[in-house]
Point group: C3
Chain length 341, copies 3
């Protein structure tokens, strides 16, 4: 079970109740009245806990689990150990997510504005918002209802934040407009000047960065990620896009809806990601490119050209993934045959 | 036009005035009395706005722009749509930078030391400086005239900062000496111990890091960038060098004047960059190397040997760029011919 | 000598005293009564200073050094310039580390809890601890004896920190338990939610992250590094492991004892590093892998499979290092022969 110092389980559920919440089908013989108090990983779960199998790598843990109930794909059900009540779902990870949300609803502190926050008198703080100690809020800032701004975060003049947002500690925000239900993690830097200058041996000439950062609804932006504001156009992050830790987003970048960007990736200035693009970790994307809808880029790739919609690429420079895998296999064969080494 | 909540245009100019400020030549027929109130991107600019064409990728936007005036290279002038007053420059981006600076001079708050900053009584704060709320300034710190230290930044004992510097919010500075007109962005960490230890299975032995970070004049250092102090020698960043977000600079690194280092690049300990070196994003440079004057390293390269002055390299491990491009082309041909796949 | 504004040498030593402290053997003829006041790099050291030669690249500096004494490997002793008193050690860098520690013992401020820190009344602060201005400490936090928490750091509810730890400025800690003698550098983010969600076109479904971050004794974690808490299992960092700046550690990662992880490396979720693994800079390791004891991964590698104990790998995708070097050499020869370019 989760450490009760950090997490409080809201309530217990019967197997029947959970099955309905997560839209899963109890396997034949499952005891619908079995009571579950918590979720837990396969290897530590006990009889009153619900676990899940999503990655076949963990099959051995599944076969020896002590969990009272388990969410599995129908195809994996026959490997279940005796005595585990199964909930069948074609999307076991999503089903587990919904179950875990039922046990652990999103935490939200009591609405309170710390007397140790420094809030400009012209700023607007919505009803139900929590502003922690050490937060600095500038002139004209507008923070929506039920927002939670964690300690020591700095929000510069005229920033707008919608309702139900959570801004992590030690974050720095300027020149940005943020939608509803969006979460920024600790240490993010949003809205600073892009890296814009004209190279000149007598001293590079700064280009004033006159755009903003527009962040949609339901966005997540990971710890210590940096998003520069536009140079003239805006930098845009679409609804429902999830960005991991330490990602760099350059000025004027436009990211569509529902994209996934894993940590330490960098997207150079003016590049466009259409909707539902998925980018692995440590990818670099050059500037002024278009990454088509639903394209998938493998971790550590270097993208120097437009990527067509739906295509999967990998490599440095990146290739369609089948070609990259061919190249890897070919090189292995060539080394094996090579007499010179 | 720029969002007036975040940016205030200082004044309007005639085409003639702008031409003089940016040292550009009005094209034949341009109306020198045409009045410009702002700068704007090609696709949104209106008759009272000035735009520019620097990257030929945006030619279509140039041909349909509604801008009243546009800065272009003389070679691109013939593609201009009718009715746009042209300003000809061989360096359109630099010319635009100067124009934008004229409309939007660098912002600077009224000099004010927040009563909510924590400043050690022995620290010196120059005339005209602004110190925002939550800033913590240690013993013996010396901050020059007209500096601007943003909220919640921490400056440890005896740090020296020259005049006209701007230090972003939530930054952490120690063991460093900074010149004039230098700008550090939010979240930077400057002067912490380098990664110095002797490996020992019984517990790695820490090597006290006894050097400093010396940062020159007119330097820019991007958000969440980390610069470790020297181990004995100093870590040095030369005048006019621009460093982007999330760059890692190891202990004892010496960077010359006028260098450009794009985001997420890492430079390992004791490496030297001579003047005017340009490094793309996500490059890794091993320790104890010398990168010659004016060398250019393409994004994502891994540099394991010294790079001669003026040379352009790419790859992992890096090669002179023509060799790297040959290698890429060769591999493509080999895959195509390959029967085994 | 080190800048006295930033570093204070504790005392002077005779060559004999230093030899004992660092367990080195004075070379024949060395003057055991020679008095040393400081350590210094080879090129700036004077007669009252101790230097060292560890990397043969710096042999020329060794041959012209003005140092009064120098630590060298016995094999390099014959290259010494006349008049330098030599201390012979098979581990000159470790010996230097111990000498430098003798001159510059770890700094520790007077125990003091700033009246400008915001500490929840239910938190426990150990005897001898220093809590600087602007620190925010939540409900139920437990901070051990002689800890030093630097300015503007945020420690969320119920975090536990052992004795003799130092937490840098502007750090953010939540959901973690930290051992003794561990040091976190400025800007670290520890314990935030991992990047856990089920992909869904209607909106990715968040998976509540119910684990913790467990950090051992004698650990170092570099500036702006991010460590996500576990999703259910914990994220674990073993005793004596050193992590550099801007490293990303995903949820559920387990890192053993005595590992070294250089800056900008990313380790994806649920991967295991056994003891004494060494990872270069900018390495990416995929999720759910096992990196065996003592394995060594060269900088910038991309690891997509398990790595056997003791193996050295390099490349993207990574290969055993000899194979990678063969591949590099082979490609160079192929380009040279290639007629098509």
């Amino acid at each position: 079970m989760a450490d009760p110092r950090f997490f409080k389980s809201a309530q217990s559920y019967t197997l029947k109740e959970i099955a309905e919440i997560i839209n899963a089908e109890p396997a034949p013989g499952a005891d619908l009245s079995h009571r579950l108090k918590d979720v837990a990983p396969l290897d530590t779960a006990t009889n009153a806990e619900l676990s899940f199998l999503d990655n076949i790598k963990y099959k051995a843990q599944f076969q020896s689990t002590g969990a009272g109930a388990c969410i599995v794909h129908p195809d994996a059900a026959q490997a279940a150990p005796p005595g585990v009540h199964l909930l069948l779902s074609r999307h076991p990870y999503k089903a587990y997510a919904l179950a875990a949300q039922a046990f652990y609803p999103q935490e939200k502190p009591d609405a309170e504005i710390s007397p140790f926050a420094h809030i400009h008198p012209s700023a607007t703080i919505g009803k139900g918002a929590t502003i922690e100690a050490g937060v600095v809020i500038g002139e004209g800032v507008d923070i929506g209802e039920d927002c939670w701004v964690e300690a020591n975060t700095v929000i510069a003049a005229n920033v707008e934040i919608g309702a139900f947002c959570r801004i992590g500690a030690n974050a720095t925000l300027s020149h940005c407009i943020i939608g509803h239900h969006t979460r920024l993690y600790p240490g993010v830097c949003i809205g600073q000047d892009g890296f814009g200058f004209a190279i000149d041996p007598k001293g590079h000439v700064k280009v004033p960065q006159l755009g903003r950062v527009l962040i949609g609804n339901g966005v997540e932006i990971g710890a210590n990620t940096t998003i520069d504001r536009g140079a003239g156009p805006d930098t845009v992050i679409g609804d429902g896009t999830w960005i991991d830790n330490m990602v760099q987003i350059g000025h004027n970048v436009k990211i569509g809806r529902g994209c996934i960007i894993v940590s330490q990736t960098g997207i150079s200035g003016s590049t466009i990601l259409e909707d539902f693009v998925a980018i692995g970790g440590q990818v670099g994307i050059a500037g002024h490119l278009r990454i088509g809808m639903g394209a998938r880029i493998a971790a550590k790739s270097g993208i120097m050209r437009d990527v067509p919609a739906g295509e999967e690429q990998m490599g440095y420079p990146a290739l369609p993934i089948k070609q990259f895998m061919k190249q890897v296999a070919l090189l292995k064969r060539l080394i094996k045959k090579d007499k010179n080494t």
